[in-house]
Amino acid sequence: MKRAFPILAILTAGLLSWGLYAALVSAPTEKTMGDVQRIFYYHVPSAWTAFLLFSINFLASVFYLVKGKPFADRMVNAVVILIAVACCVIPFFVKPLPLGVEPGAVGSTGIGIAILYFGIRKYFAERADVLALVSAEVGVVFCTIVLVTGPLWARPVWGIWWTWDMRLTSTLLLWLIYLSYLTLRRFSSSSQTPTLAAVLAVFGALDVPLVYFSIWYFRTQHPQPVIGGGGSIDPRMLNVLLLNWLAFLCFAFLVCWSRYRLEILRRDVDEAQALESLLAVGGGR
Protein backbone atom coordinates (compact mmCIF):
# COMPACT_ATOMS: atom_id res chain seq x y z
CA MET A 1 0.00 0.00 0.00
CA LYS A 2 2.80 2.36 0.95
CA ARG A 3 4.58 1.75 -2.31
CA ALA A 4 1.60 3.03 -4.22
CA PHE A 5 2.19 6.51 -2.88
CA PRO A 6 5.25 7.49 -4.94
CA ILE A 7 3.77 5.98 -8.06
CA LEU A 8 0.54 7.88 -7.56
CA ALA A 9 2.48 11.04 -6.76
CA ILE A 10 4.32 10.87 -10.06
CA LEU A 11 1.11 10.14 -11.91
CA THR A 12 -0.60 13.08 -10.22
CA ALA A 13 2.27 15.42 -10.96
CA GLY A 14 2.00 14.38 -14.59
CA LEU A 15 -1.75 14.95 -14.68
CA LEU A 16 -1.41 18.33 -13.00
CA SER A 17 1.26 19.44 -15.44
CA TRP A 18 -0.77 18.25 -18.39
CA GLY A 19 -3.83 19.96 -16.95
CA LEU A 20 -1.89 23.20 -16.47
CA TYR A 21 -0.61 23.14 -20.01
CA ALA A 22 -4.06 22.36 -21.39
CA ALA A 23 -5.64 25.10 -19.33
CA LEU A 24 -3.15 27.80 -20.23
CA VAL A 25 -2.16 26.87 -23.75
CA SER A 26 -4.15 24.30 -25.66
CA ALA A 27 -7.67 25.13 -24.49
CA PRO A 28 -9.45 27.46 -26.87
CA THR A 29 -9.71 31.09 -25.84
CA GLU A 30 -13.16 32.11 -24.79
CA LYS A 31 -14.86 34.58 -27.10
CA THR A 32 -16.31 37.11 -24.70
CA MET A 33 -14.10 36.81 -21.65
CA GLY A 34 -10.74 36.21 -23.21
CA ASP A 35 -7.86 34.52 -21.49
CA VAL A 36 -9.06 35.36 -18.00
CA GLN A 37 -11.69 32.69 -18.44
CA ARG A 38 -8.95 30.10 -18.02
CA ILE A 39 -9.22 30.62 -14.27
CA PHE A 40 -12.32 28.48 -14.68
CA TYR A 41 -10.15 25.38 -15.17
CA TYR A 42 -8.78 25.73 -11.65
CA HIS A 43 -11.76 27.35 -9.98
CA VAL A 44 -14.42 24.77 -10.84
CA PRO A 45 -12.42 21.58 -10.10
CA SER A 46 -11.41 23.08 -6.76
CA ALA A 47 -15.06 23.74 -5.96
CA TRP A 48 -16.18 20.22 -6.88
CA THR A 49 -13.31 18.74 -4.86
CA ALA A 50 -14.11 20.90 -1.86
CA PHE A 51 -17.78 19.88 -1.93
CA LEU A 52 -16.83 16.24 -2.27
CA LEU A 53 -14.52 16.50 0.73
CA PHE A 54 -17.14 18.29 2.82
CA SER A 55 -19.66 15.60 1.92
CA ILE A 56 -17.19 12.96 3.08
CA ASN A 57 -16.78 14.87 6.31
CA PHE A 58 -20.53 14.98 6.84
CA LEU A 59 -20.99 11.27 6.15
CA ALA A 60 -18.03 10.34 8.35
CA SER A 61 -19.42 12.55 11.14
CA VAL A 62 -22.85 10.93 10.92
CA PHE A 63 -21.28 7.49 10.99
CA TYR A 64 -19.14 8.43 13.97
CA LEU A 65 -22.23 9.52 15.90
CA VAL A 66 -24.20 6.34 15.22
CA LYS A 67 -21.29 3.91 15.48
CA GLY A 68 -21.86 1.47 18.31
CA LYS A 69 -25.54 2.34 18.64
CA PRO A 70 -27.28 -0.45 16.72
CA PHE A 71 -30.69 1.18 16.44
CA ALA A 72 -29.41 4.54 15.22
CA ASP A 73 -26.98 2.75 12.92
CA ARG A 74 -29.73 0.75 11.23
CA MET A 75 -31.89 3.86 10.93
CA VAL A 76 -29.14 5.80 9.17
CA ASN A 77 -28.42 2.87 6.86
CA ALA A 78 -32.08 2.80 5.89
CA VAL A 79 -32.17 6.56 5.32
CA VAL A 80 -29.08 6.46 3.10
CA ILE A 81 -30.55 3.71 0.95
CA LEU A 82 -33.83 5.60 0.81
CA ILE A 83 -32.06 8.75 -0.38
CA ALA A 84 -30.23 6.80 -3.09
CA VAL A 85 -33.45 5.23 -4.35
CA ALA A 86 -35.32 8.53 -4.17
CA CYS A 87 -32.62 10.32 -6.17
CA CYS A 88 -32.90 7.71 -8.90
CA VAL A 89 -36.66 7.69 -9.04
CA ILE A 90 -37.95 11.16 -8.18
CA PRO A 91 -36.42 13.10 -11.11
CA PHE A 92 -38.75 11.17 -13.39
CA PHE A 93 -41.82 12.34 -11.52
CA VAL A 94 -40.94 15.96 -10.85
CA LYS A 95 -41.47 17.89 -14.04
CA PRO A 96 -40.16 20.30 -14.99
CA LEU A 97 -36.86 19.98 -13.25
CA PRO A 98 -35.16 23.11 -11.97
CA LEU A 99 -32.80 24.70 -14.44
CA GLY A 100 -29.53 22.91 -14.94
CA VAL A 101 -30.54 19.74 -13.12
CA GLU A 102 -30.31 16.51 -15.07
CA PRO A 103 -32.06 13.32 -13.92
CA GLY A 104 -28.83 11.40 -14.43
CA ALA A 105 -26.89 13.78 -12.21
CA VAL A 106 -29.39 13.54 -9.38
CA GLY A 107 -29.45 9.76 -9.58
CA SER A 108 -25.69 9.40 -9.64
CA THR A 109 -25.35 11.85 -6.73
CA GLY A 110 -27.73 9.73 -4.67
CA ILE A 111 -25.89 6.55 -5.53
CA GLY A 112 -22.57 8.29 -4.89
CA ILE A 113 -23.71 9.29 -1.41
CA ALA A 114 -24.68 5.71 -0.63
CA ILE A 115 -21.39 4.34 -1.96
CA LEU A 116 -19.41 6.88 0.07
CA TYR A 117 -21.35 6.22 3.26
CA PHE A 118 -21.14 2.43 3.11
CA GLY A 119 -17.53 2.66 2.01
CA ILE A 120 -16.73 4.77 5.06
CA ARG A 121 -18.63 2.31 7.21
CA LYS A 122 -16.63 -0.58 5.91
CA TYR A 123 -13.12 0.80 5.53
CA PHE A 124 -12.99 3.50 8.17
CA ALA A 125 -14.99 1.85 10.91
CA GLU A 126 -12.32 2.48 13.51
CA ARG A 127 -10.98 5.76 12.20
CA ALA A 128 -14.07 7.61 11.01
CA ASP A 129 -13.11 10.52 13.20
CA VAL A 130 -9.68 10.88 11.61
CA LEU A 131 -11.30 10.78 8.19
CA ALA A 132 -13.69 13.53 9.25
CA LEU A 133 -10.84 15.74 10.44
CA VAL A 134 -8.74 15.14 7.34
CA SER A 135 -11.55 15.76 4.86
CA ALA A 136 -12.56 18.94 6.69
CA GLU A 137 -9.03 20.33 6.66
CA VAL A 138 -8.24 19.56 3.04
CA GLY A 139 -11.75 20.68 2.10
CA VAL A 140 -11.09 24.07 3.67
CA VAL A 141 -7.84 24.38 1.68
CA PHE A 142 -9.68 23.76 -1.60
CA CYS A 143 -12.58 25.98 -0.58
CA THR A 144 -10.13 28.80 0.15
CA ILE A 145 -8.82 28.44 -3.37
CA VAL A 146 -12.37 28.66 -4.72
CA LEU A 147 -13.01 31.86 -2.76
CA VAL A 148 -9.71 33.40 -3.89
CA THR A 149 -9.89 32.47 -7.59
CA GLY A 150 -13.58 33.36 -7.82
CA PRO A 151 -13.26 37.10 -7.17
CA LEU A 152 -10.07 37.19 -9.26
CA TRP A 153 -12.16 35.89 -12.14
CA ALA A 154 -15.20 38.02 -11.41
CA ARG A 155 -13.42 41.34 -11.18
CA PRO A 156 -12.04 41.63 -14.71
CA VAL A 157 -15.01 39.91 -16.33
CA TRP A 158 -18.08 41.20 -14.52
CA GLY A 159 -16.54 44.27 -12.90
CA ILE A 160 -17.30 43.29 -9.33
CA TRP A 161 -15.29 41.36 -6.77
CA TRP A 162 -18.29 39.84 -5.06
CA THR A 163 -22.06 39.45 -5.09
CA TRP A 164 -24.47 37.71 -2.79
CA ASP A 165 -25.71 35.02 -5.12
CA MET A 166 -26.56 31.44 -4.23
CA ARG A 167 -23.35 29.75 -5.16
CA LEU A 168 -20.93 32.33 -3.83
CA THR A 169 -22.80 32.80 -0.57
CA SER A 170 -23.23 29.06 0.02
CA THR A 171 -19.54 28.51 -0.65
CA LEU A 172 -18.56 31.30 1.72
CA LEU A 173 -20.86 29.90 4.35
CA LEU A 174 -19.55 26.36 4.00
CA TRP A 175 -16.05 27.74 4.35
CA LEU A 176 -17.01 29.64 7.50
CA ILE A 177 -18.78 26.66 9.04
CA TYR A 178 -15.82 24.41 8.42
CA LEU A 179 -13.41 27.00 9.74
CA SER A 180 -15.43 27.01 12.95
CA TYR A 181 -15.33 23.19 12.86
CA LEU A 182 -11.53 23.21 12.65
CA THR A 183 -11.32 25.86 15.36
CA LEU A 184 -13.43 23.71 17.66
CA ARG A 185 -11.15 20.76 16.96
CA ARG A 186 -8.05 22.75 17.73
CA PHE A 187 -9.28 24.56 20.83
CA SER A 188 -11.24 21.82 22.48
CA SER A 189 -9.38 19.82 25.06
CA SER A 190 -12.15 17.42 25.90
CA SER A 191 -11.72 13.71 25.27
CA GLN A 192 -15.04 13.89 23.46
CA THR A 193 -13.90 16.47 20.93
CA PRO A 194 -14.62 14.11 18.02
CA THR A 195 -18.23 13.80 19.16
CA LEU A 196 -18.64 17.55 19.54
CA ALA A 197 -17.09 18.15 16.13
CA ALA A 198 -19.37 15.54 14.56
CA VAL A 199 -22.39 17.26 16.09
CA LEU A 200 -21.19 20.57 14.66
CA ALA A 201 -20.86 18.99 11.23
CA VAL A 202 -24.48 17.84 11.44
CA PHE A 203 -25.60 21.34 12.45
CA GLY A 204 -23.69 22.75 9.52
CA ALA A 205 -25.24 20.33 7.07
CA LEU A 206 -28.74 21.18 8.29
CA ASP A 207 -27.93 24.84 7.82
CA VAL A 208 -27.06 24.58 4.13
CA PRO A 209 -30.60 24.20 2.72
CA LEU A 210 -31.75 27.07 4.94
CA VAL A 211 -28.99 29.22 3.49
CA TYR A 212 -30.16 28.32 0.00
CA PHE A 213 -33.73 29.37 0.67
CA SER A 214 -32.79 32.56 2.44
CA ILE A 215 -30.44 33.71 -0.32
CA TRP A 216 -32.89 32.66 -3.04
CA TYR A 217 -35.61 34.83 -1.57
CA PHE A 218 -33.21 37.65 -0.79
CA ARG A 219 -32.29 37.80 -4.44
CA THR A 220 -35.89 37.91 -5.59
CA GLN A 221 -36.39 40.95 -3.37
CA HIS A 222 -33.03 42.57 -4.12
CA PRO A 223 -31.89 41.73 -7.62
CA GLN A 224 -28.16 41.30 -7.68
CA PRO A 225 -25.74 41.02 -10.57
CA VAL A 226 -25.68 37.55 -12.04
CA ILE A 227 -22.28 35.96 -12.20
CA GLY A 228 -21.48 33.14 -14.56
CA GLY A 229 -24.57 31.23 -15.34
CA GLY A 230 -25.48 28.06 -17.14
CA GLY A 231 -25.34 27.55 -20.82
CA SER A 232 -23.62 24.87 -22.82
CA ILE A 233 -19.90 24.48 -22.81
CA ASP A 234 -17.54 23.86 -25.69
CA PRO A 235 -16.59 20.16 -25.62
CA ARG A 236 -12.88 20.96 -25.88
CA MET A 237 -13.22 23.16 -22.80
CA LEU A 238 -15.15 20.43 -21.04
CA ASN A 239 -12.30 18.01 -21.65
CA VAL A 240 -9.75 20.38 -20.16
CA LEU A 241 -12.05 20.95 -17.21
CA LEU A 242 -12.48 17.22 -16.58
CA LEU A 243 -8.75 16.65 -16.98
CA ASN A 244 -7.97 19.24 -14.35
CA TRP A 245 -10.66 17.84 -12.10
CA LEU A 246 -9.15 14.37 -12.32
CA ALA A 247 -5.72 15.82 -11.62
CA PHE A 248 -6.92 17.73 -8.58
CA LEU A 249 -8.91 14.75 -7.31
CA CYS A 250 -5.76 12.64 -7.37
CA PHE A 251 -3.86 15.48 -5.73
CA ALA A 252 -6.54 15.83 -3.04
CA PHE A 253 -6.42 12.08 -2.46
CA LEU A 254 -2.66 12.17 -1.93
CA VAL A 255 -2.88 15.17 0.40
CA CYS A 256 -5.66 13.52 2.41
CA TRP A 257 -3.68 10.29 2.59
CA SER A 258 -0.61 12.15 3.88
CA ARG A 259 -2.65 14.11 6.40
CA TYR A 260 -4.35 10.90 7.50
CA ARG A 261 -1.06 9.17 8.16
CA LEU A 262 0.23 12.25 9.92
CA GLU A 263 -2.82 12.31 12.19
CA ILE A 264 -2.52 8.61 13.02
CA LEU A 265 1.14 9.18 13.89
CA ARG A 266 0.19 12.21 15.97
CA ARG A 267 -2.32 10.17 17.97
CA ASP A 268 0.08 7.28 18.44
CA VAL A 269 2.74 9.67 19.72
CA ASP A 270 0.25 11.32 22.08
CA GLU A 271 -0.76 7.95 23.42
CA ALA A 272 2.85 6.90 23.88
CA GLN A 273 3.65 10.15 25.65
CA ALA A 274 0.67 9.77 27.96
CA LEU A 275 1.63 6.22 28.75
CA GLU A 276 5.22 7.22 29.32
CA SER A 277 4.33 9.98 31.76
CA LEU A 278 2.02 7.58 33.60
CA LEU A 279 4.80 5.06 33.93
CA ALA A 280 7.24 7.75 35.00
CA VAL A 281 4.89 8.84 37.76
CA GLY A 282 4.34 5.25 38.84
CA GLY A 283 8.01 4.33 38.65
CA GLY A 284 9.08 7.39 40.56
CA ARG A 285 7.55 6.16 43.79
Binding site: L176, L179, T183, L184, S189, S190, T193, L200, F203, S214
Partner: protein, 224 residues
Amino acid sequence: MSTVGLTRATLVKDIRLEWRSKDAINAMLFFALLVVVIFSFSFDPTAEQSRQIAGGLIWVAFLFAAVVALNQTWARELRNQVLDAYRVSPAPASSLFLAKALGNFIFVSVLEALMTPLFIIFYNLRAIGPAYQLIFVGVLGTWALVVNGTFFAAMSVRTRSREIMLPLLLFPISIPALLAMVEGTTSILTGEFSARFWMVLLLAYDVVFTTVSLLLFELVLHAE
Protein backbone atom coordinates in the same frame (compact mmCIF):
# COMPACT_ATOMS: atom_id res chain seq x y z
CA MET B 1 -40.55 14.54 38.47
CA SER B 2 -41.95 15.01 35.01
CA THR B 3 -39.88 16.53 32.25
CA VAL B 4 -42.00 19.67 32.17
CA GLY B 5 -41.84 20.02 35.92
CA LEU B 6 -38.09 19.55 35.85
CA THR B 7 -37.66 22.15 33.14
CA ARG B 8 -39.78 24.61 35.03
CA ALA B 9 -37.96 24.00 38.30
CA THR B 10 -34.56 24.54 36.68
CA LEU B 11 -35.80 27.65 34.94
CA VAL B 12 -37.26 29.14 38.09
CA LYS B 13 -34.05 28.41 39.97
CA ASP B 14 -31.98 30.14 37.29
CA ILE B 15 -34.18 33.20 37.21
CA ARG B 16 -34.12 33.44 40.96
CA LEU B 17 -30.32 33.20 41.01
CA GLU B 18 -29.98 35.81 38.28
CA TRP B 19 -32.34 38.13 40.06
CA ARG B 20 -30.34 37.84 43.27
CA SER B 21 -27.05 38.61 41.58
CA LYS B 22 -28.16 41.91 40.14
CA ASP B 23 -24.57 42.86 39.35
CA ALA B 24 -24.52 40.72 36.25
CA ILE B 25 -27.85 42.08 35.03
CA ASN B 26 -26.83 45.68 35.59
CA ALA B 27 -23.53 45.22 33.80
CA MET B 28 -25.33 43.62 30.89
CA LEU B 29 -27.86 46.44 30.69
CA PHE B 30 -25.12 49.03 30.71
CA PHE B 31 -23.37 47.13 27.92
CA ALA B 32 -26.56 47.07 25.87
CA LEU B 33 -27.02 50.81 26.32
CA LEU B 34 -23.42 51.51 25.26
CA VAL B 35 -23.85 49.37 22.15
CA VAL B 36 -26.91 51.35 21.12
CA VAL B 37 -25.18 54.68 21.68
CA ILE B 38 -22.04 53.70 19.78
CA PHE B 39 -24.02 52.35 16.86
CA SER B 40 -26.17 55.46 16.83
CA PHE B 41 -23.42 57.95 16.45
CA SER B 42 -21.40 55.70 14.15
CA PHE B 43 -24.25 55.57 11.69
CA ASP B 44 -26.19 58.80 11.71
CA PRO B 45 -28.62 58.64 8.82
CA THR B 46 -31.62 60.65 7.73
CA ALA B 47 -35.04 59.32 8.61
CA GLU B 48 -35.50 57.77 5.19
CA GLN B 49 -32.12 56.02 5.13
CA SER B 50 -32.52 54.92 8.72
CA ARG B 51 -35.49 52.75 7.86
CA GLN B 52 -33.37 50.93 5.30
CA ILE B 53 -30.44 50.20 7.57
CA ALA B 54 -31.96 50.14 11.05
CA GLY B 55 -32.98 46.50 10.68
CA GLY B 56 -29.39 45.42 10.19
CA LEU B 57 -28.00 47.67 12.89
CA ILE B 58 -30.52 46.62 15.50
CA TRP B 59 -29.97 42.93 14.94
CA VAL B 60 -26.20 43.25 14.97
CA ALA B 61 -26.49 45.09 18.27
CA PHE B 62 -28.83 42.38 19.61
CA LEU B 63 -26.43 39.73 18.41
CA PHE B 64 -23.53 41.19 20.37
CA ALA B 65 -25.63 41.65 23.48
CA ALA B 66 -26.88 38.08 23.16
CA VAL B 67 -23.34 36.70 22.86
CA VAL B 68 -22.29 38.51 26.02
CA ALA B 69 -25.30 37.06 27.84
CA LEU B 70 -24.84 33.57 26.41
CA ASN B 71 -21.18 33.41 27.31
CA GLN B 72 -21.92 33.06 30.96
CA THR B 73 -24.76 30.57 30.47
CA TRP B 74 -22.90 27.64 31.85
CA ALA B 75 -20.38 29.54 33.95
CA ARG B 76 -22.30 29.06 37.16
CA GLU B 77 -22.79 25.36 36.48
CA LEU B 78 -19.10 24.93 35.85
CA ARG B 79 -18.10 26.71 39.03
CA ASN B 80 -20.21 24.48 41.24
CA GLN B 81 -19.86 21.14 39.49
CA VAL B 82 -23.54 21.19 38.77
CA LEU B 83 -23.01 19.58 35.39
CA ASP B 84 -21.63 16.46 37.02
CA ALA B 85 -24.74 16.19 39.13
CA TYR B 86 -26.89 16.46 36.01
CA ARG B 87 -24.91 13.82 34.22
CA VAL B 88 -25.37 11.37 37.04
CA SER B 89 -29.06 12.09 37.60
CA PRO B 90 -31.74 10.25 35.62
CA ALA B 91 -33.17 13.57 34.43
CA PRO B 92 -33.30 13.86 30.64
CA ALA B 93 -30.61 16.13 29.29
CA SER B 94 -33.14 17.87 27.09
CA SER B 95 -35.00 19.33 30.06
CA LEU B 96 -31.79 20.95 31.33
CA PHE B 97 -31.15 22.34 27.88
CA LEU B 98 -34.67 23.66 27.50
CA ALA B 99 -34.54 25.35 30.88
CA LYS B 100 -31.23 27.01 30.03
CA ALA B 101 -32.44 28.11 26.61
CA LEU B 102 -35.67 29.53 28.00
CA GLY B 103 -33.77 31.36 30.71
CA ASN B 104 -31.44 32.86 28.13
CA PHE B 105 -34.41 33.73 25.94
CA ILE B 106 -36.07 35.65 28.73
CA PHE B 107 -32.85 37.42 29.60
CA VAL B 108 -31.99 38.41 26.02
CA SER B 109 -35.59 39.51 25.40
CA VAL B 110 -35.36 41.83 28.40
CA LEU B 111 -32.16 43.29 26.95
CA GLU B 112 -33.82 43.76 23.57
CA ALA B 113 -36.90 45.32 25.12
CA LEU B 114 -34.67 47.90 26.75
CA MET B 115 -32.54 48.56 23.68
CA THR B 116 -35.43 48.95 21.25
CA PRO B 117 -36.92 52.22 22.56
CA LEU B 118 -33.43 53.71 22.51
CA PHE B 119 -33.01 52.75 18.88
CA ILE B 120 -36.42 54.19 18.07
CA ILE B 121 -35.41 57.43 19.71
CA PHE B 122 -31.94 57.72 18.21
CA TYR B 123 -33.09 56.80 14.71
CA ASN B 124 -36.52 58.42 14.77
CA LEU B 125 -37.95 55.10 13.69
CA ARG B 126 -41.49 54.57 12.61
CA ALA B 127 -42.74 51.39 11.03
CA ILE B 128 -44.49 51.91 7.72
CA GLY B 129 -45.50 48.27 7.43
CA PRO B 130 -47.54 46.26 9.94
CA ALA B 131 -45.69 46.91 13.20
CA TYR B 132 -47.21 43.96 15.09
CA GLN B 133 -45.26 41.61 12.83
CA LEU B 134 -42.09 42.93 14.43
CA ILE B 135 -43.04 40.99 17.52
CA PHE B 136 -43.03 37.72 15.58
CA VAL B 137 -39.73 38.52 13.93
CA GLY B 138 -38.31 39.52 17.30
CA VAL B 139 -39.47 36.40 19.12
CA LEU B 140 -38.57 33.93 16.38
CA GLY B 141 -35.26 35.63 15.71
CA THR B 142 -34.25 35.82 19.35
CA TRP B 143 -35.12 32.17 19.86
CA ALA B 144 -33.00 31.26 16.82
CA LEU B 145 -29.98 32.98 18.34
CA VAL B 146 -30.60 31.69 21.83
CA VAL B 147 -31.26 28.05 21.04
CA ASN B 148 -28.08 27.64 19.01
CA GLY B 149 -26.18 29.94 21.36
CA THR B 150 -27.04 27.85 24.40
CA PHE B 151 -26.06 24.68 22.59
CA PHE B 152 -22.76 26.04 21.32
CA ALA B 153 -22.01 27.58 24.71
CA ALA B 154 -22.24 24.07 26.14
CA MET B 155 -19.93 22.79 23.39
CA SER B 156 -17.42 25.54 24.14
CA VAL B 157 -17.33 24.92 27.85
CA ARG B 158 -14.20 22.78 27.76
CA THR B 159 -12.31 24.74 25.13
CA ARG B 160 -9.49 27.22 25.40
CA SER B 161 -10.64 30.79 24.82
CA ARG B 162 -14.17 29.81 25.67
CA GLU B 163 -15.57 33.31 25.21
CA ILE B 164 -14.39 33.71 21.65
CA MET B 165 -15.27 30.13 20.74
CA LEU B 166 -18.98 30.76 21.13
CA PRO B 167 -19.30 33.50 18.50
CA LEU B 168 -16.99 31.59 16.16
CA LEU B 169 -19.36 28.64 16.26
CA LEU B 170 -22.61 30.61 16.44
CA PHE B 171 -22.18 33.24 13.72
CA PRO B 172 -21.69 31.07 10.63
CA ILE B 173 -24.59 28.77 11.46
CA SER B 174 -26.85 31.72 12.26
CA ILE B 175 -26.34 33.49 8.96
CA PRO B 176 -29.62 32.41 7.33
CA ALA B 177 -31.52 33.33 10.48
CA LEU B 178 -29.73 36.68 10.68
CA LEU B 179 -30.56 37.41 7.09
CA ALA B 180 -34.20 36.60 7.80
CA MET B 181 -34.28 38.77 10.92
CA VAL B 182 -32.66 41.73 9.20
CA GLU B 183 -34.66 41.48 6.01
CA GLY B 184 -37.88 40.87 7.90
CA THR B 185 -37.36 43.90 10.11
CA THR B 186 -36.37 46.06 7.15
CA SER B 187 -39.40 44.91 5.16
CA ILE B 188 -41.69 45.87 8.00
CA LEU B 189 -40.00 49.20 8.68
CA THR B 190 -39.91 50.30 5.06
CA GLY B 191 -43.21 48.66 4.17
CA GLU B 192 -41.78 47.80 0.75
CA PHE B 193 -42.14 44.03 0.94
CA SER B 194 -44.04 41.46 2.89
CA ALA B 195 -42.12 39.91 5.73
CA ARG B 196 -44.14 36.71 5.54
CA PHE B 197 -41.46 34.59 3.86
CA TRP B 198 -38.87 35.68 6.39
CA MET B 199 -41.11 34.80 9.29
CA VAL B 200 -41.77 31.36 7.81
CA LEU B 201 -38.05 30.85 7.27
CA LEU B 202 -37.34 31.84 10.87
CA LEU B 203 -40.01 29.44 12.04
CA ALA B 204 -38.49 26.63 9.98
CA TYR B 205 -35.02 27.49 11.27
CA ASP B 206 -36.28 27.48 14.86
CA VAL B 207 -38.06 24.14 14.47
CA VAL B 208 -35.08 22.45 12.84
CA PHE B 209 -32.48 23.64 15.30
CA THR B 210 -34.59 23.30 18.42
CA THR B 211 -35.28 19.68 17.50
CA VAL B 212 -31.66 18.91 16.72
CA SER B 213 -30.42 20.64 19.86
CA LEU B 214 -32.86 18.74 22.08
CA LEU B 215 -31.91 15.44 20.45
CA LEU B 216 -28.16 15.92 20.54
CA PHE B 217 -27.70 17.78 23.82
CA GLU B 218 -27.27 14.49 25.65
CA LEU B 219 -24.07 13.87 23.67
CA VAL B 220 -22.73 17.29 24.55
CA LEU B 221 -23.59 17.01 28.23
CA HIS B 222 -21.64 13.79 28.54
CA ALA B 223 -18.74 15.11 26.53
CA GLU B 224 -16.46 16.14 29.34
